[in-house]
């Protein structure tokens, strides 16, 4: 394209190397820490060389942590299970509710249609505590405090707007002519939707679902306010674990690694769709 001098290329290389170090070093370091004993972690100076141990993970998985002062129960696996359950159920429900709505917004111009779509979008931007604090008082009256059902309902605030606006974009990209032709051939509206529109938008729906899963998994404040220990996902559980176990740094690092692995793996798998999803469909990757 243009002439670049050797010096400039070297400077670019150095800058890129520094950027990669800044963004990846923390993940790498915590990953290494999770295979170290507490003695190795506390060494001065810190060193990347050690004999790896799976002890931290074993303690988390067995739920029993042996310390000098006795054994400590860790409920971290329960937190991990809660994260899986809450995120999966929330995304499944959001897909069932969101995909037909997205189709309606993409294919029909109807009174209040855009108003409804934008109301749903605005939930993405309101301060969560504004709704959560009064909601916690209502949940006590309704008996929804500390239930999976209550949490999954509130999680729709994260998953629904995301799915709605991303999937809407995918439906708008598909020409309505195909559906038109299928309708003219005498098929019902419903079979047009399920046999033609949904399969054509399939990759987009899958990508929106994956992203919504990541956002549900990473949420912190909803469960902090509405769930107690046995319903908490990893984000809140890890914080409680730090407070409870105090100085078991190896186990904390292992808990962090287990908490972030699913989302990081999904993100790498779905990276092609991330740009579009993160901008709620405004920018194409």
């Amino acid at each position: 394209m243009e002439h670049t001098s050797g010096l400039e290329r070297a400077l670019r290389g150095v800058a890129l190397a520094l950027i990669v170090v800044f963004f990846l070093f923390p993940i790498l370091w915590i990953f290494l820490m999770s295979f170290q004993t507490n003695e190795e972690i506390l060494r001065i100076p810190p060193s990347p060389f050690f004999t790896p141990t799976l002890g931290n993970y074993a303690a988390l998985i067995s739920g029993k942590l042996t310390t000098v002062s006795g054994t400590l129960d860790i409920a971290f696996m329960r937190n991990l299970w809660n994260s899986v359950l809450l995120s999966t159920a929330s995304v499944a429900i959001a897909l069932v509710l969101g995909v037909p709505a997205a189709y309606a917004f993409a294919r029909f111009k109807f009174r209040l249609g855009e108003d409804i779509a934008f109301t749903l979008l605005s939930f993405r931007f309101a301060p969560p505590l504004l709704v959560l604090l009064p909601l916690s008082l209502y949940f006590q009256q309704l008996g929804l405090t500390d239930t999976y059902a209550g949490l999954i309902w509130v999680y729709q605030l994260i998953a629904l707007p995301l799915i709605l606006w991303i999937v809407r974009g995918y439906f708008e990209d598909i020409s309505p002519d195909i559906e038109h032709a299928y309708r003219v051939a005498g098929h019902s509206w419903w079979s047009t939707f399920t046999r033609i529109a949904v399969p054509l938008a399939g990759p987009g729906i899958a990508a929106a679902g994956l992203l919504a899963f990541i956002f549900c998994w990473n949420n912190f404040v909803f469960a902090l306010i509405l769930a107690s220990a046995d319903k908490q996902p990893v984000t809140v559980g890890a914080l409680a674990f730090v407070t409870a176990s105090g100085i078991q740094y190896g186990q904390i690092a292992a808990a962090i690694v287990l908490s972030v692995t699913p989302t990081l793996a999904l993100a790498l798998y779905a990276q092609r769709y991330l740009v579009e999803g993160l901008s709620l469909g405004a920018v194409k990757g």
Partner: protein, 304 residues
């Protein structure tokens, strides 16, 4: 757009109801949320403390008027604005620079841009814990680095002097990739002709950047910046796990302070009033944002 809806007049009555039927379930699930919102508006006009239920009573704008002379409130406003300005400013500059470095489609650039997504996909609350481990005064690797550089007694998040710096650093670590990935997509979607013409005419690269690249990229920069602005002013996920708003009142941004006001001081009325003020700010910002976002969205649809 509405071809399916209008093609069969015989079905018109039925199909007219269809979009409502399809979108209503999603709306109803979310409408439950409007009730607590209205409740919050109502609470903000009450003298309402959970520990003093007998004192509960309507005071109109009393909570809001109280803020005017409340130094703690103005501290919250100042800290929130500082946090927002610093994070959004640094992330825009940093994100734009990285996007420019990675602009050319090569295998290594694409690999780096994918790897940089990892911090963004880390839960912010977990990211705060990671940095807390790395800045631990006893064994934290960053504490060690800073000390070997000759800086003594750098206390990171536990010192009021450096607490803001530390949480901003974590925010920058998590969210710069967000700006980077949006601007990179923007840069790569820009039309080629103006750049080719400039190259033919021998326009200096500095001018190409300020006169062509930057103006053409501006819609992306504005959208990405507003996106972050809206999130940053509501910051909770990093500050709360890291310092609970401390030390002292150094990091009491809106949501952290409202949370403490509710749970620690059980002052429901004051907490609600704080959140309503924050909501008013985000509502105004989101109106500006949505206009920008729609423009960009239409452009993306046009390119497809």
């Amino acid at each position: 757009m509405s071809a399916v809806a209008t093609e069969a007049p015989a079905h018109r009555r039925r199909t007219n109801w269809l979009p409502y039927l399809l979108s209503l379930p999603a709306l109803i699930v979310c409408i439950g949320i409007l009730v607590p919102f209205l409740t919050a508006v109502y609470y903000s006009t009450l003298r309402y403390r959970l520990n003093l239920p007998a004192m509960k009573g309507f005071i109109g704008f009393g909570n809001y008027a109280g803020f005017l002379s409340d130094a703690a409130f103005w501290n919250t406003v100042r800290v929130s604005l500082e946090y927002t300005a610093l994070t959004v400013g640094v992330e825009l500059l940093f994100g734009l620079s990285i996007a420019l470095l990675l602009q050319k489609r090569t295998r290594i650039n694409d690999a780096i841009s994918i790897l940089l997504l990892l911090p963004l996909m880390t839960a912010p609350a977990i990211a705060a814990l990671m940095w807390k481990l790395m800045t631990n005064p006893n064994f934290g690797v960053l504490s060690y680095f800073v000390q070997s550089l000759g800086v003594k007694n750098f206390q990171w998040a536990s010192d009021p002097e450096s607490a803001l710096f530390t949480v901003v650093l974590v925010d920058v670590w998590v969210y710069t990739p967000f700006i980077m990935i949006l601007l990179l997509a923007g840069l790569r979607s820009l039309p080629k002709q103006p750049f080719e013409a400039a190259a033919l005419d021998g326009v200096p690269r500095r001018f190409v950047f300020t006169r062509i690249t930057l103006p053409m990229l501006m819609p992306y920069i504005v959208t990405a910046g507003l996106f972050r602005l809206l999130d940053s002013i509501q910051q909770f996920d990093i500050i709360y796990p890291m310092t609970q708003g401390g030390p002292g009142d150094t990091l009491l941004v809106f949501q952290v302070r409202a949370y403490l006001e509710f749970y620690q001081y059980t002052n429901v009325g004051k907490s609600a009033a704080l959140l309503i003020i924050l909501w008013a700010i985000t509502y105004a910002l989101s109106n500006v944002f949505i206009k920008q976002w729609l423009k960009l969205r239409e452009r993306a649809r046009g390119l497809a």
